[in-house]
């Protein structure tokens, strides 16, 4: 039996994890089971997301020949001896097995952004309050000034060579409540006046978001800059589809807290073999109505009141049902062998060959593929002017070794899904597209996990 205890730092914290309390009951239960212990792995995580998709102990079949088993333990929730049977009678499944990116958790995620107003009304707080610190780092004025100064320097250089286009385009993907856009535009105007460059007049700031509700709110926040701002509702994984007319014209693509909220698969290397992690969503409650959940995801809470008025007489009841279902939602997992990397699509454009540099050491590892983030990133790079930059603030794993430590998701952030983003994969894809990708901790706030990623054309 292999025991992989990942939350090493927690062993030395003020309130250290009790290894015996969390792992010993699992080992005891396994000892009494019929499993071939030589083919059993016990992986222990400290799951920092209080709301998540896991039980305290989950069983994950490894579909190799002969079959193996991974027992996943959330050491934060050490409890009584677990059941090690595959009995699923008390679970109501919402879907069949499939890659994580295809799970209905992403339909819940999309519903959250589409019906954000209703969720916020029920929860009594805005979504930004769910972020650590209660606001996005995107609103940091020092960070905005630094970016703007960099832009002005590039533009002045191009102007000297008569190579500066008339329109200076900046794109923001995922605008939140418009706070970042307002800070950027305010600082931009101030810097323009101070330098006397007349760039504000030529600026075209495009606010892009999946949610029209969010865009409307953001539009109000930047009303005083209305002449300089447009908004576009788009799928963040395919910005080029809506913004193709801006190919090679954008000087700054700014992305904040978007990538961690885009669909992702996971892959794993176990014993020298590569596996896809398949998931299956379920509700751990007898009598749960899968059909109503599917209706909710298809229609949203408002229409649900119209098609099932007996069950949902008003919007509050429907939103309450949504929130309860979301809270109860869990994911079963299993490992399915991947026969060849190129048969696995990371995105429509990049095959699993992009993962090879991350897996080639052969060491055991499990990582997110960040499919949505990679697609969004690669698409966004095509928007960039030869002297443009992409700047992203998000939670990144910045090295492959980072997957051998803390738990990286998925977790629940309010009504949305959160996963740490696979930085090494993004960097590799960027490199293949001709960009240097650089990561550094967000410099304008001392604590926190936010990383600044910058991509710009390689010399």
């Amino acid at each position: 039996m292999l025991i992989d205890f990942r939350p090493h730092a927690r062993l030395r914290s003020d309130k250290p994890v009790d290894l015996a309390a969390s792992v010993a009951p699992v080992v005891s239960a396994l000892a009494g089971s019929e499993w071939d212990l030589g083919r059993v792995r016990v992986v222990c995580d400290w799951v920092q997301y209080k709301e998540n998709f896991r039980d305290a102990v989950d069983l994950r079949p490894i579909l190799s020949t002969p079959e193996g088993l991974e027992v996943a333990v959330d050491v934060r929730r050490a409890g009584p001896p677990p059941r090690l049977s595959g009995d699923s009678a008390d679970r109501v499944y919402l879907e069949d097995w499939g890659p994580g990116s295809a799970s209905c958790v992403w339909a819940f995620n999309a519903l959250y952004w589409n019906a954000l107003e209703q969720w916020e009304k029920a929860s009594g707080r805005g979504y930004e309050q769910a972020l650590p610190g209660g606001e996005s780092d995107a609103r940091n004025r020092d960070a905005a000034r630094e970016v703007i100064e960099g832009l002005f320097d590039v533009w002045e250089t191009l102007e000297l060579r008569a190579a500066l286009p008339e329109e200076l385009v900046v794109v923001e993907l995922g605008v939140g409540n418009g706070g970042q856009a307002k800070v950027f535009l305010d600082e931009f105007r101030r810097a323009d006046r101070a330098r006397g460059t007349d760039y504000y007049r030529r600026l075209h700031y495009l606010m892009c978001d999946y949610s029209q509700h969010v865009l409307d709110l953001a539009g109000e926040a930047v009303a005083e800059h209305a002449g300089r701002v447009s908004s576009v509702a788009l799928d963040a994984t395919r910005p080029l589809t809506s913004l193709g007319f801006l190919k090679y014209k954008v000087f700054l693509v700014y992305v904040s807290n978007v990538y961690d909220n885009l669909p992702t698969d996971e892959v794993a290397q176990i014993g020298g073999r590569t596996y896809a992690v398949q998931t299956r969503a379920y509700l751990p409650a007898q009598g749960a109505r899968a059909d109503l959940v599917h209706r909710l995801l298809r229609l949203g809470p408002l229409l649900l009141t119209e098609v099932a008025p007996d069950r949902f007489p008003d919007l509050d009841t429907a939103v309450g049902f949504w929130r309860e279902a979301w809270s109860a939602l869990r994911l079963e997992e299993r490992y399915v062998p991947l026969p060849a990397l190129d048969e696995y699509p990371v995105t429509p454009r990049f095959s699993g060959e992009a993962l090879r540099p991350l897996l080639e050491s052969g060491a055991d590892i499990r990582m997110h593929v960040s499919n949505g983030a990679v697609a969004s990133f690669a698409d966004s790079l095509q928007l960039l002017h030869p002297y443009g930059r992409l700047i992203c603030h998000d939670i990144f794993v910045t090295g492959v070794e980072g997957y051998r430590g803390p738990f990286r998701g998925p977790g629940k952030y309010d009504g949305s899904v959160v996963n740490w983003v696979n930085g090494p994969l993004i960097a590799h894809v960027g490199r293949r597209c001709g960009f240097d990708v650089h990561f550094e901790p967000f410099r304008h706030r001392s604590a926190g996990n936010i990383v600044t990623m910058t991509a710009q054309v390689r010399e």
Binding site: A163, P386, V457
Partner: protein
């Protein structure tokens, strides 16, 4: 060799298959021997020639498949240039290069390109275009050149390339092309680049082409602008053809050819190499027809905007076939039945 009107050709590079990419990277990391890699290159060059012939291309190239990118193959062989760290993570990355001594001619084929040409020409009966990166662009990747001026370095490299060009001509190369992929990013240095081009072509009996584009590294433009920066300096270049990109950028710059009175031939870019979308023969034909308003058919060559390296092989084959068919459509409309010779 006689050619039809509106002869079709390529700019140089051909798609590098993913498996070859991996092998090249393995070689860079020391996991594969040089001899094995040469076998791979030989096979790939033969396949690229076959693809071009099947697509109906009149003047073919070796696809530059021995070269890891547009710079390093030539720069690493340049006498006097040192590559401090010759092992790369990925073959398409650029080496860092430094100047140890001013490049000087060390023998009859100082860069070994003539042998590459000999192999290629032995594998095809079609006319071959042989391209190499020009001295100005090569110099742009030598960041540490000590006290040597850029002009001295560029002209010294031009001398070495001239010796190589003589060796190529000696082996029968009749169409040579100098690529200057960095020139559009240094628009104030066209004079120097042209001086160097003239040093390269000096006393070499061949048809000379000069290719200038806005960059194609990683299938992206490296710069934006218009070709007017080339003029009037490029009028002094001792070359027979300018090979320029128009498919991605549009026809606006064709008027520049008129305006400045370029007297030579024009290699007309009719295929966008930065897009996976395959042009139709009709679109290619229309692009050629529009160019004919500015340049006579006897002066027009038809080619993609730049090298095909960043496309998939299937896309490249389809684009070349469309280009050849498009050229034939216009060719059939022309009163002349014979084109240039190379």
């Amino acid at each position: 060799m006689e050619l039809p009107p509106l002869p079709t050709t390529v700019v140089g590079s051909y798609p590098v298959p993913e498996w070859m990419e991996r092998l090249k990277t393995d070689y860079c990391r020391g996991r594969m021997s040089y001899g094995q890699l040469q076998d791979v290159h030989d096979m790939a060059v033969k396949a690229a020639l076959r693809d071009q012939e099947l697509a109906g291309i009149d003047i073919v190239s070796d696809g530059e498949l021995r070269r890891d990118n547009d710079i390093d193959y030539t720069l690493a062989r340049m006498p006097g240039i040192e590559i401090p760290d010759p092992v790369k993570d990925f073959y398409y990355d650029y080496h860092e290069a430094r100047l140890a001594t001013l490049p000087a001619v060390t023998g009859p084929s100082p860069l070994g390109l003539a042998a590459d040409y000999a192999f290629t020409s032995a594998q095809t009966s079609a006319p071959v275009k042989f391209s190499f990166t020009g001295p100005f662009s090569l110099s742009c990747r030598v960041h540490d050149r000590g006290r040597t001026s850029q002009r001295d370095l560029v002209m010294a490299m031009a001398g070495v390339l001239n010796a190589e060009a003589r060796a190529l001509a000696e082996l029968g190369a009749t169409l040579l092309q100098i690529d200057e992929p960095f020139l559009a990013g240094h628009t104030d240095q066209v004079g120097l680049a042209v001086d160097a081009v003239n040093a390269v072509t000096d006393s070499v009996e061949a048809t000379w082409a000069l290719h200038v584009c806005y960059g194609n590294r990683y299938a992206r433009p490296s710069w934006e602008g218009h070709y007017d920066f080339l003029f009037p300096d490029v009028l002094k270049a001792n070359v027979d053809q300018l090979v320029l990109e128009f498919a991605r950028k549009g026809d606006d710059d064709l008027t520049i050819i008129d305006k400045f009175g370029w007297p030579g031939a024009l290699g007309l870019g009719v295929i966008d190499v930065k897009s996976d979308e395959v042009e139709t023969p009709e679109l290619v034909a229309n692009r050629i027809r529009r160019a004919l308003r500015h340049v006579g058919a006897e002066r027009l060559f038809v080619n993609p905007d730049c090298g095909l390296r960043n496309l998939t092989a299937a896309t490249a084959r389809a684009k070349l076939a469309a280009m050849a068919r498009g050229a034939r459509l216009v060719r059939d409309e022309l009163p002349i039945k014979q084109g240039a010779t190379v």
